[in-house]
């Protein structure tokens, strides 16, 4: 499965009857005087691609960082894969995080490690796998998924932005997560590379059945990858629906996205 393969098709299956794998209720978070989240709520269903669409600075990234316990919210409830995120012990938090893949906006590859070492790192530290043959197999499989087998011995600084993003996704896929969180997956990429990343997001869902939350302000990413979109304005839910439903709303806060 490579990002440019044509096997992945974007289907928007009905969400009815599907299990909810994550839910957020009335989440609030402030940084000093600045209120980043003012009561956002969402539900993520099994094998669903949920896009959170909003302008920069509306608290989208804060939302998913709260969901994995990187940021402590001020108020609200979060349930992810049956874990009540706000009351977890460090051990439970780790157990939950192992089932979640987080693709960072900056890729966040460990720059002192090669691509191989980046991918081996979670395997060695979480799954305690030290058999080099087994590690090599798993690393190459994950790189095959993102179409970058040849980059295995390169360092992050030697890779382009798009390649770094794909390696970042491969590093999370190697632990076979149930939920993927993509933070601005196409930010700073050219349209062709962005399209490749969009295809990769769809292929991950197709192959592994993962549920994904995709944080973006890129309307083409939202159109290509979403089953459902939550539009976020000023730290709150503004509207929810499919791409076409939101486009037809003619909401003054959302129109600039669709008319851009």
């Amino acid at each position: 499965m490579t990002p440019d393969s044509s096997s992945a098709k974007h289907s928007s299956p009905s969400l009815e009857g599907r299990k909810t794998v994550a839910s957020v209720r009335d989440l609030k978070k402030s940084f000093g005087d600045r209120k980043a989240l003012k009561g956002i709520s969402l539900d993520l269903h099994e094998s669903e691609n949920l896009v959170i669409l909003g302008r920069s600075g509306t608290g989208k990234s804060v939302l998913i960082k709260c969901m994995v316990g990187l940021i402590e919210p001020d108020d609200g409830a979060m349930n992810v894969l049956g874990f009540n995120v706000r009351t977890l012990t460090p051990e439970q938090l780790n157990e939950m995080r192992l089932q979640i893949g987080f693709s960072f906006q900056s890729s966040a590859l460990y720059d002192s490690m090669s691509v191989r070492e980046n991918l081996e790192f979670p395997l060695k530290r979480n799954l305690r796998i030290f058999d080099q043959q087994k590690l090599d197999g798993m690393v190459m499989d994950a790189l095959q998924e993102v179409g970058l087998k040849d980059s295995v011995d390169q360092y992050p600084a030697e890779l382009s932005g798009g390649m770094q993003k794909r390696i970042g996704v491969a590093r999370t896929l190697i632990l076979k997560p149930k939920i993927m969180l993509y933070d601005e997956p196409t930010a700073g990429l050219d349209p062709i590379t962005s399209a490749e990343i969009n295809k990769l997001i769809l292929q991950v869902r197709e192959k592994y059945g993962t549920s994904s939350i995709i944080i973006t302000h890129d309307i083409s990413c939202a159109r290509e990858t979403s089953d459902r979109i939550i539009a976020m304005v000023d730290g709150r839910n503004k509207a929810e629906g499919s791409f076409d439903e939101l486009k037809n709303l003619k909401d003054p806060d959302l129109e600039p996205f669709f008319n851009y």
Partner: protein
């Protein structure tokens, strides 16, 4: 105007108290993870090698020169009292008790404090630490505990090495100026350096190493605001480490005085 000044003083005081409380929590976490988390032997060994590798040349060069300079500057004063033969005794006690640990501590504060601060700081601002956190790979244990353990264990060894280098520098000066033999010089050194001198020097340098590791790691691990934050972390790693080294040195003189 007066009340505004009072408000600023109060705010600064609060900031200092909160900072100290935060460092206390950080150190407590270091001890907790050191004793509870799996030992990171390979990474600690790697960091230990880095500490030695980064500092060895500077320590060698500086300690050797200090030995020469201190001997040359002390010689005229002792000569005027006809006490030139006390030179090995004076130099050895000064080097082992104070100069060796202090010079090594300051060099390592400059070299390692900045290095650890910048390294962890850049990992923090590029979300690499967050990436480790969300993949459940215990970054605190891997990045912080290993570095603090390495600096704490390496400093005493570097101090012993610096003492030897400084004494060699001193011997070379005495040998050239007074035609003194190697055995005679080092017999005199051995007769005047006590076990209390050696152990107090080692214990002091153990604390120096711990302080350098903690300050550098704390500054780096809590870096924020992009590249500016990395620079600040590196700077804090050096300045505060140096300050703490002088404080530890002062305290150790008082404590060791009780045993002499």
């Amino acid at each position: 105007m007066e009340s505004l000044k009072a408000y600023n003083v109060k705010a600064k005081f609060q900031k200092v108290v909160l900072g100290v409380a935060d460092i206390y929590r950080f150190v407590r976490k270091v001890f907790k993870q050191f004793f509870s988390a799996p030992l990171e032997i390979r990474e600690t060994a790697k960091q230990f090698y880095n500490v030695g590798n980064r500092s060895l040349f500077l320590v060698t060069f500086t300690a050797f020169l200090v030995g020469i300079v201190f001997t040359k500057q002390s010689r005229p004063s002792l000569s005027s009292f006809g006490a030139e033969s006390w030179l090995p005794s004076l130099v050895s006690q000064a080097v082992v008790r104070s100069l060796g640990p202090l010079i090594t501590g300051l060099i390592c504060a400059g070299k390692l404090g900045s290095n650890i601060g910048a390294e962890l700081g850049s990992m923090k601002v590029t979300e690499q630490i967050d990436a480790m956190e969300v993949s459940g790979t215990r970054p605190f244990s891997f990045l912080v505990v290993t570095r603090i353990t390495a600096t704490t264990l390496a400093l005493p060894l570097l101090v012993v090495y610096a003492d030897i280098m400084a004494l060699l520098g001193s011997f070379l000066t005495v040998a050239i100026l007074n035609n003194t033999g190697f055995m005679l010089y080092f017999n005199d050194v051995a007769n005047h350096v006590t076990y209390t001198d050696i152990f107090s020097s080692l214990i002091k340098s153990f604390f120096f190493g711990f302080a350098i590791g903690v300050v550098g790691s704390y500054a780096g691990y809590n870096a924020e605001n992009g590249t500016m934050g990395v620079g600040k972390a590196a700077n804090t790693g050096v300045v505060i480490s140096m300050l703490i080294i002088f404080i530890i040195d002062l305290l150790s003189v008082q404590v060791i005085g009780l045993f002499r």
